[in-house]
């Protein structure tokens, strides 16, 4: 079972599986969560965020053996699920000279899911974001044919240990420039539904992506593909509908 994290001076609940027992309180930045047994066959769920928004649910149960899992999920659900794509704008541009490759780490926004576990089945009970201001939409392309994305400005990370607990995970991006001229990278757009998330205590890592800048016909494009991680951290359950998205090709300016 999980305990509390003393990350960033505050005491917040770690990701992981919790036994409900009779009562359970979880604490996340700006969010408090309470489970209470209200009868032999039912629990109540209460969540309040910093803006005073309250969500309450009743959870009927068949047996006493009810667990929940607190885990990071993809940043696609707040304020509403509208897309599978994310648009990450780097706070600093990256220059890559011709015929070269580089590997960088970035902070990628995450949301947090609360899952009910019963008979080894996972059901999504609720999802939250600890940083609603970084959960916005952006458009890549023109209004009629463009791609609606979840938009966030992100900073570079030093490595997998540099995750901002509960708010941002770390993602590795491998960039390869096969073009005959140097290129500047300031943003990346890709379907994040192909990227799994992994957690340990309060930290999160996401599957990486590989960006290959190449020439197709007379056009320079950036081909973005996911690169699965092999890591001993716990893989997060995902409750979003698994929709296979075509890997995106960005036009290079």
């Amino acid at each position: 079972m999980n305990t509390m994290s003393d990350d960033s001076k505050n005491i917040f609940s770690n990701y992981g599986i919790y036994d409900l027992g009779d009562d359970l309180e979880l604490s996340l930045p700006n969010i408090s969560i309470k489970f209470q047994r209200i009868s032999d066959n039912a629990f109540s769920y209460f969540r309040e965020n910093s803006e005073g928004k309250i969500v309450e649910k009743i959870i009927p149960v068949k047996s006493n053996d009810l667990k929940i899992e607190l885990a990071p999920i993809r940043p696609l659900n707040h304020p509403a699920r509208r897309t599978n794509h994310v648009f990450l704008k780097f706070d600093k541009e990256i220059y890559l000279s011709k015929n070269s490759a580089a590997s960088i780490f970035i902070h990628c926004p995450i949301e947090i899911g609360i899952f009910l576990i019963h008979d080894s089945n996972y059901d999504s009970l609720d999802w939250i974001t600890c940083n609603p201001l970084n959960s916005r939409f952006g458009l890549y392309g023109s209004p009629d044919t463009g791609t609606l994305c979840k938009y966030a400005q992100v900073s570079l990370a030093t490595g997998y240990d540099d995750s901002n607990s509960y708010v941002e995970g770390v993602m590795q991006i491998v960039v390869e420039n096969t073009l005959s001229s140097g290129q500047i990278i300031s943003q990346v757009i890709f379907p994040i539904t192909d990227n799994a998330l992994y957690y340990q205590d309060s930290k999160t890592i996401l599957d990486g992506i590989k960006i290959t800048m190449k020439k197709r016909a007379a056009v320079n494009i950036a081909d973005v593909k996911p690169t699965p991680l092999e890591i001993d951290w716990t893989m997060s359950p995902t409750w979003e509908d698994k929709v296979s998205s075509t890997p995106l090709e960005m036009n290079l300016e």
Partner: protein, 274 residues
């Protein structure tokens, strides 16, 4: 006994070679055709339609239903010994007469076919017909008419001919839509500061407003009492209600917080010197 009854029926002539028995067989063919058409339509709706777009499913369903009915009708006519070639010749003349008499009906029917082929809008789209002053959700493109559910919950039936020849503005075809309002600030206010204040408030408190493209501010006019600023924001196409109706509220809140005046209409009256 059954054979005797059939024998009797076959001897009961109605007109020419048409007997009660052939008519009965024809009736059975038509009834069977209707039943088969309904079953085929039902099976299609149950097993195949869910995986198809709604309007495509409806069109294929109609095609199956009426296709089987036409085949049944042809079976019926051949069972009655009716020679269709004679009807075809007479039908040509008859069609001209009927065509004139039912011009609008035929026109609606053909417009319906064109609407299905061209697909200017599909089932579930939010559309506006500016010529008719109708805005709502397209429910159905039928054989002769289309139905639009307006935002007040009422349903308007539009003859297909009118629908086809109207300007149709689709509000859901693009990925995103733009909302806009005009707000006036006093001449004493710093325009750049007011724009910055409005922009920050919009981006921070309206989660459905797109960050890219950013909200846009244009000085619309130097009005009688105020500097009028036109504000444009983009939002996901299905979230109009989270942008347009609350945009002015958000802007007013931002201006109030910063002490920027939204002036009332003013008149400066000069009176003659004593």
């Amino acid at each position: 006994m059954v054979l005797e009854i059939l024998q009797n029926l076959s001897e009961m002539q109605i007109v020419g070679e048409l007997t009660v028995l052939t008519l009965l067989i024809g009736g059975i063919i038509m009834a069977g055709g209707v039943i088969i058409a309904k079953i085929a339509k039902l099976l299609f709706h149950k097993y195949y339609a869910p995986s198809l777009p709604q309007d495509t499913a409806k069109n294929i369903s109609k095609l199956i239903y009426f296709g089987i009915l036409i085949i049944s009708f042809l079976g019926f006519t051949s069972s009655q010994g009716i020679d269709l070639s004679g009807i075809m010749v007479a039908g040509g003349i008859f069609a001209v007469v009927i065509g004139f008499a039912t011009q609008s009906v035929i026109s609606n029917l053909i417009s319906g076919v064109f609407l299905i082929v061209e697909k200017p809008a599909k089932h579930g789209d939010t559309i506006e017909l500016p010529d008719m002053g109708i805005t709502g959700t397209l429910l159905d493109i039928g054989t002769f008419s289309s139905k639009v559910r307006r935002f007040d919950g009422t349903v308007t039936r539009i003859p297909n001919e009118k629908f086809f020849t109207s300007n149709i503005r689709s509000l859901t075809i693009s990925t995103v839509r733009r909302a806009d309002v005009t707000v006036g600030i006093s001449y004493e206010s710093d325009i750049d500061h007011a724009i910055l204040v409005m922009k920050n408030e919009i981006l921070q408190t309206m989660p459905f407003v797109l960050q890219i493209p950013e909200p846009e501010f244009r000085i619309e006019e130097l009005g009688d009492s105020s500097v009028n600023i036109h504000v444009f924001v983009w939002h996901p196409r299905d979230d109009w209600s989270q942008a347009q109706p609350i945009l002015l509220t958000t802007i007013k809140r931002a201006l109030d917080k910063s002490g920027i005046e939204i002036p009332f209409p003013q008149r400066v009256i000069w009176t003659g010197k004593d």
